[in-house]
Symmetry: D2
Subunit: 349 residues, 4 copies
């Protein structure tokens, strides 16, 4: 089967680089074009990029010429790693021109009829796409991936919500520096230090969680009625977001019941067969001092969320800790899995 | 006025070193003896210690000979920096022999009639001491300092409790490596990593908070009726514990009211004149990205708790972040201030 | 072809863990036994080990029972990750009993007729083995791997020595914490700090370099006549040793000549076909700011030494910087490659 | 005595902030004006600055209005913390207008008749100033401070040069991130990593060392005839540059002789009385694992260079390690001490 040609918008940034690394050997997709801002367009990729991932860009990609952000790329799917303000202009132009835009930007995450997706969590939200096309007059489409921290909150809460009815969530994140891109966080700000603030992050975690756990009703997405309070911190960790959660349910589970539900979670049938789908989207570790970002972020190729320290909470029902890979599951790999879902669900021909 | 002779038990450990550094120039106290375990006893201090604080031990102390942990030291007050299991044996022997023991160990923190003290918070708990002496038949006494993390939780909550009636607390800590002593945390465990577990810490934060905010009634301490859920993490920060709090009150304050109450807090009259008392026990910073451990831990000589990001909480009433110096206010300086309070209150002659 | 049964001595330590990780899928070798000190012997591996490598021990190994350090293991080759003082007793017992001991310990590195090996550098030193056996009356044998830092010095210098005649070497190392094992370096010593001392390291680098670059003459190893001055530092890096070198030759090469010689190096024919042999033992990077430990340590599976900043030296001839993976090429993988060489050269049947 | 009014050029940058911190309580100088680029001029200092030093700007300074970089400031001495390309334009304008410019920039360090100064090392180089004024037609003057790393090389070598005749130097630096200013080094580049390159640094160390150790002859500075090879590295350390040195002399000293000469060094009489002069410009530590940047950078208020590990070198004569505070002795404090020397020597009235 011929691979589907894809393009990467914002190919020189940190997330763009991850897209390139991950798509270099993808069984379904083939990198057909790279695009970036005026500043880089026209240059050889290897010259334009400051590669921040270990190793080097794949040789074939290194020789590609970067194109401008115009919807004339030889691709069916475009992965957007653009800054949000640019995404806001560029992504609709591509959707209008018939491309399936899988965006990692926040620009359209809150938009009506634009699915905000984690395949294992809410694959059925793709059924909003026909209405999206109709409303906007697009032949293409936009789907979005959540904020990198939201993923580590929502994926482990999904099976607990299904089983016990999620009502209240406290989330305190300790987020890796790679989440801020390059150059991102100044070393003088973070070496041996913590910055207890990431602009806009807490609001994103709170609102995106409600969207992702929302249900489809008559073709409309109804946000979940969950009270959630988030606090976001930057810590001197390279990759991997750690999140301390306290959660309250309609029906209080025992620790054993919660662990069983987490460990058994697989996601819907259609999702399990996607090339990027991990065998276990959630791994539960029994050790008292896990998960840890450096030791657990790469579980299942960076696609599993590792959960540990599941224990009762004196205030709500349960406390737990999650670690997720913020630039893989939480960004580039997540968006690629969304594209796979679009293909499997027939939205890309 | 002649200075009061004091001794340090556990003088070679990390907290013992802080005691020595801080007492070297104390206006009321004078280091008269150092004591430590068999292994070190009999050695010159400079030889026995692996000094982990910048600089060197004070010259006069460097030449002292370490004595065994026996209650025959030429001192009135002893500061205990002993491990808890040893403190459990040694501290009562000193109390029985007439010494005022100011302990940083956890051994007797939960004991009836043993004050667990933060002077600005509960100076009146020293009124338990006569009953302690009577029950135990001691001519001396024991008072204890809380766990280093508890201090950063309780001190900022005290004025809020007084004003608005504290009812519920979520606390997630990000704790510095110096809290684990030396050698303490292995670098392979913490470099570029987070360990979401510190044995016994969460229980201590929860129970000590209730004791510290408890009230005296007919000579008895009644623990406060507060629901509290703590999650403790170790982070790659040298000194300074950062704590994210969400708190609920009987009477919901506005952000402005809460900030005013925090900024105005001074502690009781008797405490304000103690040599170690900072002018402001609580500093409120207005910047969105403060407090930070490396930039705020040394505020007011490491004796002030810095508070920031006071904002509403979607679940309880308020969210805030605190930073405190774990080996100063949270350990050695805190215990020294307790000793100052004992002197001011007439429990040491 | 049946795989050769191997055992790991010191299987629970940091290097022992690397042996297990690397041998789990080795094409020639199969883990048949694990051995460790009394303290661990008799336990299930998964229970006895504190696994410090990301992920988990291979499932098959996790279930193995650890055996004592006695030469009755069902293996032909034993990999020794023992501390040197224990290796000194245990390794000869295994050699006497007929095992081929591939040691990562320093105990026998300086011994006459015991090859100190980096296959690409001095594969011919295995010809000392018959004499070793004769002198000691062993039916087995011992070969040793160099100190992890020596590897990053010697491998890049080998082709330069061959081409231009090495005479003088200045080496300043910046060594990762993993080189000290677990728990190893205390975080209080190294976070945001440098320790300019590693006991015995400088002497090892100096003497082992001369042995490794020595030549065989009439069955004897003649140490190379090279003046070398080493300074060793510990830095807050997880894995990967960085070394700044200044080198002087008999015949001064141009930078271009040196780079060509480095980039063309492949090692002897017999070595190129070993399973662990990287296609390029030395990678030369042209960027001004490379090599860097975090970005280059994993080159060619951690088996290549990355070299950069080749430039003239105002005092000697050339300056260059190398990065090598200290627990792969510099420890476990290096010892495994030595075992492969023994098999290829006919010393293990 | 009235304090001398001084101004700071480039007051908002990292070095500018250090000038402000250090001059807040200076016995001879008083901050009379702050100046910075167009972008900041006109703003209140507290608003314009992103303060990267622990704590806050001194209150009096916080309220000052930043002025443009024009030579109409109410000051006699100006401290320049400007980037070099701007310093090249601005500093001569101030010198022409009668100001004594004490520059931390590299722009004029290599200029004839512009003293490059470390007071203890070459206070006599100020005698070039009359010729500088004559040649340029300036009523003011420029003196410069060396590169932050050069200071840690030259100050400890000065007494050894005087005693034994310095001939050859190998220097490998491990430099703190604060040396790159703010935002400076990206955390993604340096967390758990080393960057073995700092643009222009090695050339500066080499050439500035020869100037600083040069002698005055008939009013001219004759650069020292020393062969020096430097390699510069960036490491994840906040403050404090560590340098490994190997040095060769005309007359080989014993370790004891070298240590005695280092420990006895005081600098010339005129310098010892300057307010910023440390009692000991060089501290020799006997421990095998010192100096360390985090533990030794603040020795004598950050003004002493700590030296350790003095030992023979197999290639040259001696090896040693130095640690110096790069933003105090190596930058702001060094420039302030130069200004003190100008006052003491009568070049500022």
């Amino acid at each position: 089967m011929a691979r589907i040609p894809v393009a990467i918008l914002g190919a020189t940034g940190a997330v763009g680089q991850r897209f390139i690394q991950l798509l270099a050997d993808h069984p379904w997709f083939e990198i057909a074009a790279l695009a970036a801002s005026e500043r880089s367009a026209g240059q050889r990729y290897a010259e334009a990029v400051r590669w921040v991932i270990p190793g080097d860009p794949p040789p074939a990609v290194a020789e590609m010429t970067i194109r401008p952000l115009k919807p004339d790329l030889p691709a069916k799917i475009v992965f957007s790693a653009l800054p949000s303000e640019i995404a806001r202009q560029v992504e609709p132009a591509f959707a209008r021109a018939g491309y399936a835009v899988c965006s990692n930007a926040s620009a359209y995450r809150q938009e009506p009829y634009v699915p905000l997706l984690i395949p294992e969590v809410n694959a059925d939200h793709v059924t909003m796409i026909p209405r999206q096309r109709a409303e906007r007059g697009w032949s293409g489409l936009i789907v979005t991936s959540p904020n990198c921290t939201t993923t580590g909150v929502v994926l482990p809460l999904k099976p607990l919500d299904d089983a016990f009815g999620l009502r209240r969530v406290f989330a305190v994140s300790m987020q890796a520096i790679s989440g801020a891109g390059y150059p991102g966080v100044a070393s003088l700000d973070i070496l041996g230090n913590i910055v207890p603030y990431i602009g806009g992050e807490e609001e994103k975690i709170e609102s995106e969680t409600r969207l992702l756990l929302g249900r489809m009703e008559n073709g409309k997405r109804i946000a979940a009625d969950i009270a959630i309070s988030a606090q976001a911190n930057r810590v001197p960790v390279l990759d991997g977001h750690t999140i301390c959660l306290s959660v309250g349910f309609e029906k209080t589970p025992s620790v054993e019941e919660a662990v069983a539900v987490l460990a058994d979670f697989r996601g819907p049938e259609v999702v399990r067969k996607l090339p990027s789908a991990p065998e276990h989207p959630i791994l539960v570790r029994p050790e008292p001092d896990r998960p840890q970002p450096r030791r657990d972020r790469d579980a299942m190729g960076g696609m599993a969320i590792t959960v540990g320290r599941v224990r009762p909470c004196p205030l709500l029902d349960l406390r737990l800790v999650t670690v997720s890979h913020n630039t893989l599951r939480g960004a580039a790999s997540g968006a690629i899995m969304n594209a796979e879902l679009l293909v499997a669900a027939g939205y890309v021909e």
